[in-house]
Symmetry: C2
Subunit: 338 residues, 2 copies
DNA sequence: GCTTGCGATCAAACCGGTTTAACTGTGGAT
DNA sequence: ATCCACAGTTAAACCGGTTTGATCGCAAGC
């Protein structure tokens, strides 16, 4: 394996000089620079990132720890889009994204500790729990971080935020505008901040219209749970004329379940999703949903972190608010109730 | 930052001894071991992975370079499931998965070079192109690798394989069994080995039944392309009575397009997908498809790589063959043709 | 003519671990 | 009593870069 020493020898300089040629931290004469670069090219030398990481105390890596069951990550469209967005920014600095999937709280703690001890320069925190121990842990480990999505307000870390409340309000306004009054909500897991927040936004929006926001069922973002929640709502005495789902997957499963028991969508039941996954536009009926720009979330998170690492004062970043996309699943007024 | 030196001092031993306590490469007396562990716990010390990486020439990291447009990665269900599977194995050795997304061939080359220079101990190769330069590049860089899915036969790297041909044959057999004769195929991009192979398998299976395998349209796995390919097939003079899609997303988009022009599924047109994504079972009609265990792919790929790194002779691994899952989109015999 | 200043370079220390060759003390064999 | 084997430990070299204080040659300033 060829080292900086070999390059230095070939160019007739010291290794310090070779290093300076690459870092540019001190002036180097054009002649020397050329000799060094030639020698490096000749020997096909690339600096060892391991050695560089040790010397600079930077590993050029951002950590992302996912504390979920692998199967759930798999079905979650958020994950892949977010990672793609973050990477598109990190790549410009030739930084990498180090993924770790853990299943127990101890594993999670260890993962963050090992990241803090040199595997990563900073981490991205997603899926915040209502009482999440991680911000405190990271502050303790002195590991720079960015929090994606809402987090408790006196935030120790910069955040990437988007106004979901407005989008939820738009959805409810849209349905009310069509004449719906009994509107139900299938939420995400209440333990998560975003699930919690969207549900609160739904309750608020309903209250703003003087409607009863009691029809809320908790789901877990899976198709299975969307189907079950829908069944529960349709079995109720006074079934809703519209259901607002916290993501598209649950909405699609609900849509299908409704159709399978002869409930017509949108005539008997209006349905809205959240995310705007690729398939939402390709269903029968196509799905009214809220378009979230998850790729931008990833991009912004990476940007915030890079600025942070560059020494700037960490600042929250806002994403353009999610946008309601009206399609067929909410077309027309609700059928007259009996 | 507390170092191994501090721990050694606190325990009254040399740093070499501290190191040996953790690596277990030489016998250490129980008394010393206890003193060292106590001191480490007291000081809250965890070995620096950067220093360890330099000294051991191992970074405890597997690289995964994705040469695709970020937006496409996002829609691909393969990616998240595969990563989850791989991580579930790597986690047991506290290894990480380093992701890099690149968009140009030069970036790709650089990414692999930098991985080879210490960022990763090995890499996973997915989405092989028909004439992929990467196996040769990696061999050149002396970077251990595992290839996921088919690869040209005198393979320089161990592979993780699954018999897609059999699954495609099952699909065709199933449709022929129902009485279909004009069966079309919407393939994946022909530049990819797996897309190429599945298409070849389709052609073979049709030939085995003495049927004309000419109705093949190339797609790119996106919903958009599924819809367009379907439109083209349904516009043809002699439209097919069944369409075999190379993935579920294209199949669902095709299903929707057919329905939107009044073609009944499965009565007028039978449809099959490939992947068995979560939503496939939750559509109207639910989708007949091929269940691929992508999580296992990821798991096996990681296992092969770890064994390789442990010094074992690299060996190909086989995944249980994909399984046909019959649902409503192919129910019943085709309507009588006019 | 002698300092002063400065651009260019070098040697050595350093980052924080692992690994090796050598050393010590103890008990068993001869 | 002497030698040997061996478990337990250490000091020092090493991994491959970066960074710093010192050095050197040379032109400008007085």
């Amino acid at each position: 394996m060829v080292t900086i020493e070999d390059v230095a020898r070939a160019a007739g300089v010291s290794k310090g000089t070779v290093s300076l040629v690459y870092s540019g931290k001190r002036p180097i004469s054009p002649a020397t620079r050329a000799r060094v670069l030639d020698a490096a090219a000749e020997l096909d030398w690339v600096p060892s990132s391991r050695a560089r990481a040790l010397a600079t105390r930077r590993s050029q890596t951002i950590g992302l720890v996912l504390a979920r069951d692998p199967e759930i990550i798999a079905t979650d469209s958020f994950f892949a889009r977010f990672v793609a967005g973050a990477e598109s920014v990190l790549a410009t600095r030739s930084m990498g994204l180090l993924l770790q999937v853990v299943s127990t709280p101890e594993q999670e703690r260890d993962a963050y500790r090992s990241l803090a001890r040199g595997r990563a320069d900073a981490v991205i925190l997603t899926d915040l729990l209502v009482d999440d121990p991680r911000p405190a842990l990271l502050a303790d480990l002195r590991l720079p971080a960015v929090v994606v999505g809402a987090s408790p307000d006196p935030a120790p870390h910069p955040r990437v935020l988007s106004d979901d409340r407005a989008a939820v309000r738009d959805v409810v306004d849209h349905l009310v505008g069509l004449g719906h009054e009994r509107i139900a909500h299938v939420s995400g897991p209440a333990g998560y901040v975003h699930g919690h927040d969207r549900r609160a936004a739904f309750v608020d929006a309903m209250a703003a219209h003087g409607l009863d926001p009691a029809l809320v069922v908790e789901g877990d973002f899976s198709a299975q749970s969307g189907r079950e929640a829908t069944a529960r709502l349709l079995d109720a005495d006074d079934r809703p004329s519209a259901i607002v789902y916290a993501n598209d997957v649950m909405a699609i499963a609900g849509l299908n379940h409704a159709q399978s028991r002869g409930v017509r969508v949108p005539d008997d039941l209006a349905i809205t999703g959240f995310d705007d996954i690729e398939l939402a536009a390709h269903l029968t009926p196509s799905l009214t949903t809220v378009q979230t720009d998850v790729v931008s979330w990833g991009r912004r998170a990476a940007e915030v972190l890079l600025r942070h690492l560059d020494g700037a004062v960490p600042e929250d970043a806002w994403i353009a608010p999610s946008r309601l996309v009206v399609r067929e699943s909410t077309a027309g007024a609700p059928a007259a109730r009996t």
